[in-house]
């Protein structure tokens, strides 16, 4: 078990077999150790006799009975068979039932920005670099036809799926004509699927005409905004090096004035970011609601953090801690605020994910037994030349098909097998069900590589996350028991009825 203490000084332990954290104590640990000691006889009387010099007899008895009861719900620990193989027909069925959520077209690799942390900059070893390639309609059309052909077949397995088509870049609005062509084609040929459209843009080319067209087709518009002007312009600049903030704010004004609901912000920060200023900025009514916040990705082969010193890191960690404390001290304000705040996403949602993300009691899908990874095919990311990829973040040397071959289930089987065969420590990991790592975390140019260091770091950060989640929940369960549905802080994750505890 992974033991940790909350801010209130309570002891808890993450029980991976059940997939839940439980109240814990030194007595509980001692009794568990006695019970798991294969050499000794685990009779209650003997254990009490053995432990009563250190613990209260009544408490030993309680722990013994409760552990015995708790064990009744434990399954045999899941063990992955190495070498891991999975049948192509199982993958096909899984994809048709549970995947195909979004087709993302990388309509251009060109971008008018040169953001400091860009995943396509030279900072990342395993992703492509800046280029000026554009997608042609012939590639987009074949991708769309293939996606809807699978969607049609998949309806028999999951009739409730709402297909989404996303446009990504580079800066996708540099190829706006292609976006229009694609949407018109889908609306003409696949109208019956009520497709949901998604655009991820830097916002600089979002003039009124484009904005009106996007709103007409009910697009979810995701704007990359990194906070107030000085924060944003430090990281997100034009090729010329000039700041981009003013142009974006002026472009989104008509959309905000129109009270369009499906526009939101995604923010990225680094060790130099002023977290408080970012939080304050996203509480403004002229700024789209924030639905995503993440620190610059530090995956294998990333050089971005080379520019920072140890002191920068220490100072950032201090500010992060101050922000956490501020968030907890002002939780009433954050609860009452309409829409999620930056701190809600950073802290509240993170805590909710730790508490309610892991699947309790159920065995994971045998097809994806470990880590938080998806089965390739959940999304299909199409690059400008028509190769299919797992998603926009996973390096392009692991394709899963192409416009000509379609989604390659054999390739997916090979990727899964390759992936899990490199994760030979997972079956014994105490944090197995909490792990959120995926292909991106382990990808190299020669396949997947899982290092002990990565797992150590993960375990360390999980304990920190659990500590924070329980500290928050002790203060006010309402913060963690709500899961932010975009634009509204509405339903509680676990109980809708206030009379159930």
């Amino acid at each position: 078990m992974l033991e940790f203490y909350s801010g209130n000084g309570n002891m808890y332990a993450w029980d991976n077999e059940v997939g839940l954290s439980i109240p814990f104590s030194h007595t509980m640990r001692a009794v568990m150790n006695e019970l798991s000691d294969q050499k000794s006889i685990s009779n209650k009387g003997i254990i009490i006799k053995k432990l009563k010099k250190d613990f209260e007899e009544e408490e030993i008895s309680y722990c013994y009975d409760w552990i015995k009861k708790w064990e009744k719900i434990k399954f045999q620990n899941y063990r992955l068979q190495i070498p891991y193989t999975v049948s192509i027909s199982d993958i096909r069925q899984f994809v048709l039932r549970n995947c195909l959520l979004q087709l993302t077209l990388n309509v251009t690799e060109d971008c008018n920005f040169r953001c400091k942390y860009c995943v396509y900059s030279n900072n990342y070893k395993y992703t492509r670099h800046h280029s000026d390639r554009y997608m042609y309609f012939s590639i987009a059309k074949k991708s769309i036809d293939h996606f809807f052909s699978l969607t049609k077949e998949g309806l028999r397995y999951n009739p409730l799926r709402v297909p989404a088509v996303g446009f990504y870049g580079g800066e996708p609005l540099l190829n706006f004509d292609l976006i229009k062509e694609c949407v018109e084609y889908i609306e003409d040929k696949y109208k019956m699927y009520h497709t949901h459209y998604v655009l991820t843009t830097n916002g600089s080319l979002l003039d009124e005409e484009k904005a009106n067209w996007l709103m007409q087709y009910d697009f979810s518009i995701s704007i990359s905004l990194d906070g107030p002007e000085d924060e944003h312009d430090r990281l997100r600049v034009y090729r010329s090096g000039h700041g981009t903030f003013q142009d974006i704010m002026s472009n989104i004004k008509p959309i905000m004035d129109a009270k369009y609901k499906k526009i939101h912000s995604q923010t990225v920060f680094d060790w130099k970011s002023d977290l408080f200023k970012i939080d304050e900025f996203f509480n403004r009514s002229d700024v789209p609601h924030i639905t995503g916040a993440s620190i610059v990705n530090n995956v294998g082969g990333c050089k971005y953090y080379n520019r920072f010193s140890e002191e920068d890191n220490t100072a950032f960690m201090k500010r992060l801690e101050e922000a956490k404390i501020f968030y907890l001290e002002n939780h009433d304000y954050y609860k009452s605020h309409a829409g999620a705040s930056f701190f809600d996403l950073l802290f509240g949602k993170g805590a909710a994910q730790v508490l309610f993300g892991p699947g309790s009691l159920l065995h994971p899908f045998s097809i994806m037994p470990f880590t938080g990874t998806c089965v390739p095919g959940r999304k299909i990311f199409v690059d400008v030349e028509g190769s299919f990829h797992i998603c926009e973040r996973v390096p392009s040397n692991i394709p899963i098909g192409s416009v000509d071959r379609g989604l390659d289930f054999e390739k997916i089987a090979e990727i899964l097998s390759n992936y899990f065969n490199h994760l030979d420590k997972c079956s014994l990991c105490k944090a197995q069900k909490l792990c959120q790592k995926c292909y991106q975390s382990f990808a190299t140019d020669k396949g997947f590589l899982c290092s002990s260091k990565l797992c150590e770091e993960l375990n360390h950060s999980l304990i920190e996350s659990l500590t924070f989640a329980f500290t928050t929940a002790e203060l006010d369960p309402d913060i963690v028991e709500r899961y932010d549905i975009p634009h509204e802080k509405s339903e509680k994750i676990i109980m809708v009825n206030k009379n159930v505890f």
């Binding site: 000084g9 109240p23 002790e474």
Partner: protein, 378 residues
């Protein structure tokens, strides 16, 4: 000092009283009003003074004392965040395939005469209804479609299946290639030994009967018809493979021994309890397909129809009528009058078909002898 229930213990409040449900050991601790208020304070993480109730609950291993405010995550199945993802496939666990509506017997308890039974869904029935029966090929197609939808179990039912024996075994044999969990319903008087031996290993056989044999055969499920006047006398029947199928002639015939009585409140398993928090205990995850192909919430709720599989495939019915289907699946007992006030609502049974028939309302309640507002059984 604080007292909190353990992760496996849920505390449910009714309008007057509350109850604690131990999901591992299946125990229920019913609390009086004062205890309910005390328990509410505890579970709201407010400090308490040591007291008899809490010491008692600790002795029962249902909760523990803590020095500080503590957060106890409740035991659950799966991931609530995962479940909230938009576009998850529907969770269809059970489908009734009513492949026939003909029967030469003239049983007094038959649905044909408008008689309602507590397990009329599962038992044999024919309906006073005309229409073209679905051909075998359509049933096979439907079985394929249900398999694709990941349906967990099917019930093959309708009239007297022995009258269409060739068709029934053709469909059953086909279903056997696709499903592990198949039930088939037959009346005891129609069953021959040859038929029984043919069906063994292919399906779980549910035998509808009015009288129990002295020696019931193992491996079969007996569905015993119970007349209103015999309700009390069958309480002693405890055979593990016998289920009582109560006949409801009319509301006036209901005595104090209504369907739901104190004796019947039991916590069968954590899956059902957790499921019932969100779904109707019977209609949730269930569909029935009538012999003409009508898709119904259950075989007895013939007035509600989501579509017909002879004109639209079942997946297309899910796609277009999901909102309507979910109205029945999601009709948890919080939405039923009286039940909403009851602390036992997530561990209770409920037959919406009967209740609707007796009260004329989809959310009406007649078959219960507990008054949750007073906290008394009558």
């Amino acid at each position: 000092m604080y007292f909190r229930l353990n992760p496996e213990c849920y505390f449910v409040r009714g309008s007057k009283n509350g109850a604690i449900f131990d999901l591992i050991d299946g125990k229920i601790v019913a609390l009086d009003h004062q205890e309910t208020e005390l328990m509410t304070i505890c579970e709201n993480n407010e400090p308490i003074y040591d007291g008899r109730l809490f010491r008692e609950l600790k002795k029962l291993r249902l909760g523990n004392f803590y020095l500080n405010k503590i957060y106890v995550q409740k035991l659950r199945i799966g991931s609530p965040i995962e479940e909230q993802q938009i576009g998850n496939p529907p969770k269809l666990y059970r489908a009734f395939l009513e492949i026939n509506n003909s029967c030469k017997r003239d049983c007094w308890f038959c649905g044909y005469y408008g008689i309602r039974r507590s397990l009329g869904c599962m038992g044999c029935n024919k309906w006073n209804q005309n229409g073209e029966p679905l051909p075998t090929e359509k049933w096979k197609k439907l079985i394929d479609d249900l398999r694709n939808l990941d349906c967990k179990s099917i019930f093959i039912t309708g009239g007297d299946l022995t009258l269409i024996w060739d068709k029934a075994i053709d469909i059953l044999d086909y279903a056997n290639k696709k499903f592990d969990n198949i039930y088939i319903v037959l009346h005891k008087r129609s069953l021959s030994e040859n038929m029984m031996s043919y069906l063994t290993d292919k399906a779980k056989i549910i035998i509808q009967t009015e009288n129990l044999d002295k020696q019931q055969l193992d491996g079969y499920i007996y569905l015993l018809i119970v007349k209103p006047e015999d309700r009390n006398s069958v309480d002693g029947i405890t055979s593990k493979n016998t289920i009582r199928d109560f006949v409801i002639r009319k509301p006036e015939s209901l005595t104090n021994s209504s369907l739901m009585t104190k004796k019947k409140i039991q916590l069968s398993n954590m899956h059902l309890f957790l499921n019932n928090i969100k779904y109707h205990p019977c209609l949730g995850h269930t569909l029935a397909i009538s012999y003409t192909g009508d898709v119904l919430p259950c075989p007895m709720m013939r007035g509600h129809k989501f579509g017909n599989v002879s004109t639209r495939e079942i997946y297309a019915i899910f796609e277009k009528e999901w909102e309507d289907i979910y109205k029945f699946w999601g009709l948890n007992l919080d939405k039923i009058e009286r039940c909403a006030d009851c602390e036992f609502r997530y561990t209770c049974i409920d037959c919406r078909a009967l209740e609707e028939c007796l009260t004329g309302k989809i959310d009406g309640k007649r078959l219960c002898s507990y008054d949750p507002k007073e906290g008394e059984w009558y």
